[in-house]
Symmetry: D2
Subunit: 304 residues, 4 copies
């Protein structure tokens, strides 16, 4: 495999690219770009080559170009630059790990296919920790399963599991569906923890009961939003004043994509839209950078 | 231990009482009452003595009287009859397994204590299957942990776990909190399954991804509301046209209690109240007896 | 007409009782009580006799006793005191202007009727201004229209209109229905004003268009929640930093009653319950004493 | 003024164009197009010239071209055809009466301006009746007030009022804001009417009280969703089994645009999004063509 391009060195992209460049003495040739010079320096320190523009990545004859960008707008800005700078006969594989609208994935899939390239949407779950540890899950959408096989060695370095969810856009869709369900679960746990504590139930006992009952869920077990429970269990951003987890603002963004996809697809999402507005309100009240479990405090009218 | 009284032989109470009367050749002397003669006959066939009124149970010198009633109104009707017919010097233990408002539990706890009795709220999770198999979980609220120890042998016959959640009312509160969180989780899964399928993701794949990701939950794994997924996994009422599970009407009832308790306690429950109204609407549209996963169909405007 | 008792001298009750005692040189003999000595002094200064307890009012041989209390709990506390202290042969007319649950009205109606008295629920609309100016509207529930005729002279002093809404409880119900609809209207106007302004529409123009279109409503015209519009129109609490209007906390209280009545009556109220939770959240965030138009600011994450 | 082009002869566009062609013996030369031949025939019968394509309208040297199309997609399809077929030196005035996303209006405004044309968004309120009677209100967005003056004679034939709401897009925004507030108002009235009737209040009395109180609104007065009230008042689609009014599906469409604009503008719309989902659900349950007051019946689980 020849060089791999990597564009987008944020909280997720940087550790992912570092794993690519260093894991198992892979000696993989990674050429990276980000508009942020600090991130670019960190990539260089980790042994990557760095580019000074998106177009330089496009012109570098990479067999695979991975993008990890903050949303649809960035993907819509970067992809045309790549298309113009890429060798049209090279049949590059584009792996877009950004969380975007399924229609964005499908649109670029068509356009790239027309130009002779292949593409997959491969958004991830696992957070910064999974990106750092190389334990991400990739939700893959691509028309031909062979495309996934082609990318598998790279995905296996950055993660521990890749699931073919369907044709182009299905990876994006799956990611949004998961986070839609996740938001409802977190909100339900926040409300239940608040209610229980107000009614005199010890939060640790309440979480313990729910974790062995029908309300068992990641939001109760691993990322319980109650500080006392999180501290007791030793896991979850609530133990750390909601620093360092999955931000409310990011949850709002994913919910916006899900709700928009739902409107396009004609699917009623009453709890989803309310979840989105609640995270929107929390963001407007200054909590956008706090882990999405901070909703427990927002619903109480308290600062975290 | 002398005789045990059992009042309320519905879908849950009958198998619970049968387990008491028959499990492990317990030869426990159970005297049962229900206003429904069919249920009473089934109790007799299972070897119980039967009473012709609540008061007859009260007058039977039972050391423990278990109630499994449909709600606060029934508890408020039955408990005074028991109080009047019970020997005031007998110090009977009242075990109320009904799902009621925590304030109902606290109120009767005070009144029974004043009359020299003891009491615990011990609502259950596990459904009809758990009641039949003797694998229920009891969420216990009682002021003195010794009260739970006293009842433990009986609870161990009917269930496999009893958790002391706090003082009187804490068992009721814990049950409501669990179901509040559960409703949000189920609704989130229903919306996610509907959205994913409309966006072209195979429901079985979508459920598989969520079950290994942050949306993992009982409502996705064990009681997935999508018929195709439920059939594939071999578990959940959706495989059986939503027959035989936890009815939408019962979920609505529990949510009403949770929301009312939240209003009393001054706790904001935005997702909880919306969940309650959605189950209310489903019930008004004729789906009250269907498993609460039927929300997936209601949101589609389809009959199950 | 002999003496009139008046219990509850709050923001509403005090000006109402003052009107009774002074309007048109009525020389009506009003005997008043409130637990707050300051309010009681103001009543005395306005020419009323004052009592030192509820029971003293009950024992004063009033032909009519008016109550204006903060809610169901207060009514449930005060009414038995009146019942015990009243002459059982006097056939007193009880006029309850408090906003309470319809079932509270019906319950006390039955009990008072059994004791030979008559009663009406007569909650008001019009706010402190209407109470002061004597321009309130009374929404009356009483089993016999003659009861309203009997009270009419008194109501005509305190207000300008009395509507017989139906039997006992119908006055309470009508008041709750109006405020349920009002909350939805205010929230809709708040969201529309926020949206329009963010999209570059001048708030004054936007309000002007809505006031002559299908969104025309009291919340847009008379109590527009946008400070610029309220100042321009010269009406509404928003012009005065949301001081002095109908408090968010009071709206929350009325919505709680409406939602509880809806649950009892089996009526789905999805927008009503969400409205209640939003006002609940605003109250928890410290805005309970601000006019309910403050929701415009709360939704922006801004302090008024 | 030379010829006027008119594209889109639906329930609204046809009577609007007929008024243009016939009102006051205007003898205005109107050239019309619609893909539906029946509509086109009706236009011809009313004295208009008809075109066989959008491009034919574009090539007809009209000084003004009016579009009344079902939404953004149609506007995005038709406008480029007009742009290509229009004389680039003619400086045509485009009047778009369609209800679209404000960003759609702004985008086309920029593009048309670049090509030397002028444009205004001028969505309407008043419904089919207003279109037929020529009593519509136009909510106008255009960068230069002179543009409105230019179109005023035409708007005055089709309507009775034109309000300059701001720059391009402000007309679209104002329309969406009005309907966002309207939906909340209608839902509030539906819930209040259902609650009141269930609590024993006569619907006619309830509506009468609200119409003279703080819940006074067009949805209560003019389009009351209760059949008994609508019949009694002699106005509103509810009197006619919800036939012939503003369809739930159209309300859902407008709410979708409002919610999408809110997401773009960063405005929280909790009641707006819930309203949208409720109308979406009603549509999925087969009520999309019924007047949006049909929500009263949908919330009851009843067919209209």
């Amino acid at each position: 495999m020849s060089s791999v391009g990597f564009i987008g060195l944020g909280n997720m992209g940087l550790p992912m690219s570092i794993n690519l460049a260093t894991a198992n003495d892979s000696k993989m040739d990674v050429i990276a770009f980000d508009a942020n010079p600090t991130a670019l320096n960190l990539a260089k320190e980790a042994g990557m080559r760095t580019a000074s523009s998106v177009e330089e990545i496009g012109a570098s004859n990479c067999s695979v170009i991975i993008t990890m960008l903050p949303g649809c707008q960035a993907v819509d800005a970067v992809t045309p630059m790549l298309l113009e700078s890429c060798d049209p006969n090279a049949s590059t594989l584009f792996v877009d790990c950004s969380t975007v609208h399924p229609s964005t994935s499908r649109r670029w899939n068509e356009e790239l296919k027309e130009k002779g390239h292949t593409r997959m949407d491969a958004p991830v779950s696992g957070g910064v920790k999974g990106a750092t540890d190389g334990t991400l899950t990739f939700m893959v959408g691509c028309d031909d399963p062979a495309t996934l096989q082609h990318a598998q060695p790279l995905l296996d370095i950055m993660g521990q599991r890749s699931i073919h969810c369907g044709t182009a856009g299905a990876g994006s869709a799956t990611k949004l569906c998961n986070n839609l369900a996740l938001a409802a679960q977190m909100l339900g746990i926040c409300e239940a923890m608040n209610l229980g504590e107000s009614l005199g139930v010890d939060p640790i006992v309440l979480a313990q009961v729910m974790n062995t009952s029908t309300a068992k869920s990641w939001s109760c077990e691993v990322n319980n939003p109650h500080p006392v429970v999180a501290t007791d269990r030793g896991t979850g951003a609530a133990a750390n004043r909601y620093e360092g987890g999955f931000g409310s603002k990011l949850m709002q963004k994913d919910l916006s994509l899900a709700v928009s996809a739902g409107a396009d697809a004609g699917v009623a999402l009453p709890v989803g839209v309310l979840s989105k507005e609640l995270y929107h309100m929390a963001t407007l009240h200054g909590l956008g950078d706090k882990d999405f479990g901070v909703m427990l405090q927002f619903l109480r009218g308290q600062k975290p």
